[in-house]
Symmetry: C2
DNA sequence: GTCTATATGGGGATAGAC
DNA sequence: GTCTATCCCCATATAGAC
């Protein structure tokens, strides 16, 4: 197998294990075993654990950007795009109830470890934040687009955290429905304002 | 020093370190050092790390119940009591921005470790949940008291998660203000309903 | 590019002297 | 109740043969 293919496999397995078990709890041996590699050979591809973490975060960032671009082309309206974000909670509910939000839990873990990559992990949130802010701006909320983006991110994080603790799928669905209501209210507020100013 | 005093000191130090650094990342040596105990002597008080975790969770549970009882006597109205809960985010903002919510981050970590104590940690959420539900019921929201309690818990978790990632105090204050608005709306909805049914 | 063998450090946990 | 000394395991990381 070529080096780049092996490297890619390592990153994919590490990505999954860091999510399912956490960064610290995942050992080189765990990753090497699932890739089908000896521990020794592992170091040919990655010198340190932090290097793998950096590659995993970079891949998550690229995947996130691709995901958002997909939503951008799938949905015509800003509101429809924001709904795609909200419905991610339902689409990924099983994994969320088992392991939480991949971004939120990684940020929390790295914050506690005082790890240098903490800011790069937090930047994954920024990718969502800026994309959501653009959608809210397009919706007519130019002035408070960032605050609305953060508010929705906040809700998704809260839902993920409690869904993990209580393993309650109906809670997720109820809160998603509440976010849909909230979003509709934001749409009305924006169109109401534009009518008044017209 | 008496055994019970030493034990209590161990639990307090472990509680703090589990919060600040995480459960797995905290070693016996870390705790022993801060208590001023040798590693060997440590095992006189606690046989396993899980035993310490159990004691820490039990203490957190007792502290939480005491906290809620304090709010119960401090504030006369259910709305005032709920506000005490909401304002906890501001009172603890510095620690939250550094290490997240003690309950949420512990639940997340234990979920990933597939640790047996995960359900006991989640029960800490239940203490808040049931207390909040009682306040909402007293407010006149008997039918959806639990859903409202979960909704507020969800928000506090979301705020804690993003506050840790972005270290943004103004975000916390803005979302707390939004929760106050939401709470007022719930009060109006309850009193409006009771007037109509009268 | 992959392997085995190994160095080194730290973790949890125990035994037994004081 | 506290200590030192020690065991064992597993972690990251390296060296060098193939």
């Amino acid at each position: 197998m070529s080096a780049s293919e092996t490297r890619q496999q390592i990153v994919e397995v590490a990505d999954r294990l860091f999510y399912e078990r956490g960064f610290e709890a995942t050992s080189f041996a765990d990753i090497a075993k699932q890739v089908g590699l000896s521990r020794g050979n592992f170091y040919y591809h990655f010198k340190t654990k932090d290097e793998i973490l950096g590659a995993v975060i970079a891949q998550r960032r690229a995947n996130t950007i691709a995901l958002l671009e997909g939503w951008e082309s799938d949905a015509a309206s800003p509101a429809g795009r924001i709904l795609s974000f909200v419905h991610m909670l339902i689409a990924n509910r099983t994994r969320i109830m088992a392991h939480g939000c991949p971004v939120g839990t990684l940020c929390n873990e790295l914050a506690k470890l005082d790890h240098a990559a903490g800011s790069q992990a937090a930047a994954l949130f920024s990718v969502f934040r800026e994309w959501l802010a653009r959608q809210f701006a397009a919706l007519g909320h130019a002035a408070d687009a960032d605050a609305l983006a953060l508010h929705l991110l906040m809700r998704s994080q809260g839902v993920a955290a409690l869904a993990t603790a209580f393993r309650d799928e109906s809670f997720i669905r109820r809160e998603v429905a509440d976010m849909e209501c909230w979003l509709k209210a934001q749409c009305r507020a924006a169109s109401g304002r534009s009518r008044r100013s017209a």
